[in-house]
Structure formats: structure tokens, C-alpha cells
Amino acid sequence: MPTAARTYWLTTSCRIRRKDQSLRIERPEGAPVHIPVTDVRDIVACEAVDLNTSVISLLNQHRINVHFLSHYGDYAGSLLTADTSVSGQTVIAQVGLAADQTASLEIARAIVASTAVNVRRVVDRRLLNRPMAVLEASIADATTREQLMGAEGTFRRSAWAVLDTRLPDWLRLDGRSRRPPRNAGNAFISYVNGIIYARMLSAIRLTPLHTGVAFLHSTMERQRHSLVLDLAEVFKPLFAERLLLRLAGRGQLKPAHFETDVNQAMLSETGRKLIVQTVRDELAVTIQHRSLGRNVAYDELLYLEALQLTRRCLEGTPYKPFRIWW
């Protein structure tokens, strides 16, 4: 997202107080840190954070959202400022599109197809050839989003099995499990996905779209921000699977980064710090954009994706979800 202000990541539990136009961040150890509120774009709280009314009103004035991740890295919720860019006319267009079976299925198909392309690109092109062909056929046949989700699930299971062959024993997924993740590999994936979800929510809130009206996931069911689920989907492999393979390959992930019980696992404090740092660095990586002719950060790709969907809603321009092109 193109702005001078920064995203602040809180990786230790702390209390946020207001000091004039600054946020005063107090930690159990060490001196408090003061951050001018104008330097803050948004906050991702990876640990328990205490805040009070005066902080909230300051954040509100400056349109700063705070995203909370649970211990497991599940997205726990956000403190969203009341002021958004949501526009009535755009939401009407968005709802119209979501209600139009043919149009919304076309968008959902595109999301599933691009996600799979990205998974395959990251995990293994050759071994996922066949599952990919099967998926493409099911996408073409699918007439409901449930069928699409089912087809995606089948493809994902093959991909996770292939992923396991490239991981050390202790990091293998043995199937995807959430809430709680059953093992270290799953804990890693959940945590990264939680961060990407939070970033995507911030990105969509900068557009006039409504975060609750979706195309692949069911609108406003269980998940309040179902559009975030739709758009985050295509980026998860770029971050979660890719970084898992990278950190495992370099031997940077250690069992000590996790707290593992018989049937559940979560990141330890050092593990959380390592992953947050890794994802932050990755979000800042830039690449030359194909049509904009300038360098964009990965983080900005999420915003551009939301803009592309806005264009689909407002102007009917075909939506081509993000595919790793490099």
C-alpha cells in the first residue's frame, strides 16, 4: 500500500497508552516506546495487547486499524475504524455481481484456478501436473461454489502430500488441521495465513468494496469478512507454503520454535518472532510490476488485487487473480 506511514508489528505482549498525539507502548521489560500516530498505518498485534478508550479514539481519528492474531495465529479479530472508503454505489455493483450466479461463479473459478497455479509453482510443478489437470476439469464442470471448494480441497490435499516429501519429518503436515493445528507444520501455515488475512483486510478497506460480500466463500456467513477470504486465497502459497519450504530447507526452523503437545502445536515466542520477522521482510520485497512499469512491494500486490476486483465490480473488466509471474 503506497504510503509513507508504516505497519507496526507487536510481537511481545504490551500495553498501549495515549500520550498527546503519540502512542506509548509499554512492555513488561525495557523502556516504553513512543510512536507519533502519524507514522502508523496500521498495527498487527501478534501477542496480547491492552488498550483503552483514549487510544481507540486516537486510532479512530487517524484511521488506524489494529489486527489481533490469536496464540495459534488464527486471525482473532480487528479493531476497525468507523471511517472507511466503502461507497454505496460500489457496494450495489458488488452485491449485484455476487448475486449473479454466472458472474460470481466466473470470479470464484478464477480464484480457485489461480490459487492452484500458485500452489503448484511453489510446491512442485512436475508432481502436481496430474492433480492440476484434474482440478482444471472439475473447475470447468463445477456449477456451484461448493463443488469448486470441493475440487480445490482435493487439489490441496495432493499438494500438501507433495509438500510433506520435501519437509523434515517433524515439520510434515500429515494433512491440514486448524484450530488447533495438530503439528508444527500446520502451526506455521496457520500463523502465516493469519497474517496474510489481516494484511488483506487492510488492503480491501482502502478500496470502496465491502469486505463482507464474497464470490467464492459464502457471503457474511460465519466469517464477517468473507471477501478477505476470497482474495487472501491466491496469496497464501506465496507466503505460507513458500516460506515454510524456504525456512525448512535452510534449517532455520527448529523444534524449539514450537510448543508441541500430543495432538496440538503452536509457535513458541521465539518462533513467533522469527516468523513475523520473515513475513515482514517478505512483504517488503519488491518486484517490477508488469503493467504499472514500476517496482511494487509484495504487500502492495494485495492492494492491487483488491483494486482489480473493484474494477470488475464497477466496470466489468475481467478479473484475473494474481499469479506468481516471476
Binding site: 500500500m1 503506497p2 504510503t3 509513507a4 472508503s85 466503502v86 461507497s87 454505496g88 454505489q89 460500489t90 482502502l206 478500496t207 470502496p208 508488469r290 503493467s291 504499472l292 492492494y303 492491487l304 483494486l307 482489480q308 473493484t310 474494477r311 464497477l314 466496470e315 484475473k320
Partner: protein
């Protein structure tokens, strides 16, 4: 949909800059909140004209109205554009409508230390009225106006939206 009274200086500015930008703005696109250009614009205000007082006319916000009823506008670009001029005339029109006898606009360009005086004439008044009608026509059109030529889009904060593929 907006009515004549909702049309503000930004609408008029965008009408002259790019109709597509105006159409998108009316649909909630606000990338300018993020753009570095706008942040630069704010910095210009803070440092160059601290003693002027902003005037709020509802939909229209202008930088400063002096004692002789001239509208002052501080611009971060380096030279006057038709959009700047139309915007200043729009403010005069709005001021006249609420009974302030606006004399015209003075555009300030701190970057080049230039100023431009634009007296408010009958012709300017007619144009300001026509601009409002034109804004409403563009905004209410069902389809988006076409993109400008790529070179004309340079520096536009909507370029990410328009040219992203």
C-alpha cells in the same frame, strides 16, 4: 447519487483533469488519501501559509479568504492548470451563493513562487454553473469514461487503479 449542492471543488478539479477520475471518485475511489503527492500537498500547507485560515463551505473547502474577498488557493504543482482555475471559480460561485461578495481567485504556487490572479466575471460565473451541471452528468452516467492516454496519466493517483492488469 449526488445533487448540485453536493458538488465541491474536488469534483470540479477532477472534471477538468479527467472525467474518468471524477466518475471513480464519485464511486468511493480515494487513492489520493494514500498518495505521496497528497502528503506533499499537506506539507506545503503547513510550512508556507501557516497564518491563513481555511474556510469550510460544506462541499467546498477553500484554503483562505482574505479581507478583500479574494479566494486564495495554495497549489503543490508548479504551474497553473485549467483544473486549478475552474476550482477557484467554483469557490467564488459558492461564496456568492451564500452572500459573500467574492472578487476572484488567487492561485499560489510556492514551488515556483508564482501567483495567478483570476477576477470573477459574469463569464466565469456562467462557466461555474455549467461545470456543476457537467459534473452531475458525468457522475450519473452508468458507464465509466475512457482512460486518458497513458502519458497524460503520469502522476495521477488513480493510475494504480486504471493501469493495473
Amino acid at each position: 447519487m449526488i445533487g448540485p449542492e453536493d458538488v465541491g471543488g474536488v469534483h470540479v478539479k477532477y472534471l477538468y483533469h479527467c472525467r474518468r477520475q471524477l466518475w471513480l471518485y464519485a464511486r468511493g475511489m480515494r487513492p489520493e488519501q494514500l498518495s505521496a503527492t497528497v502528503q506533499l500537498g499537506e506539507a506545503v500547507h503547513e510550512t508556507s501559509y501557516t497564518r491563513s485560515s481555511p474556510v469550510d463551505l460544506g462541499a467546498a473547502k477553500l484554503d483562505h479568504l482574505d479581507g478583500a474577498a479574494w479566494v486564495h488557493e495554495v497549489k503543490s504543482s508548479s504551474r497553473p492548470s485549467r483544473a486549478d482555475e475552474a476550482q477557484a471559480m467554483h469557490y467564488c460561485y459558492r461564496l456568492r451563493a451564500v452572500g459573500v461578495d467574492a472578487q476572484g481567485g488567487i492561485l499560489h504556487y510556492p514551488k515556483t513562487r508564482r501567483t495567478k490572479r483570476l477576477p470573477y466575471t459574469t463569464q466565469a460565473a456562467e462557466q461555474a454553473e455549467a461545470d456543476i451541471a457537467e459534473v452531475l452528468a458525468v457522475v450519473s452516467a452508468p458507464d465509466s469514461p475512457p482512460l486518458l492516454a497513458r502519458s497524460a496519466c503520469r502522476g495521477c493517483s488513480y493510475a494504480d487503479y486504471c493501469w493495473n492488469e
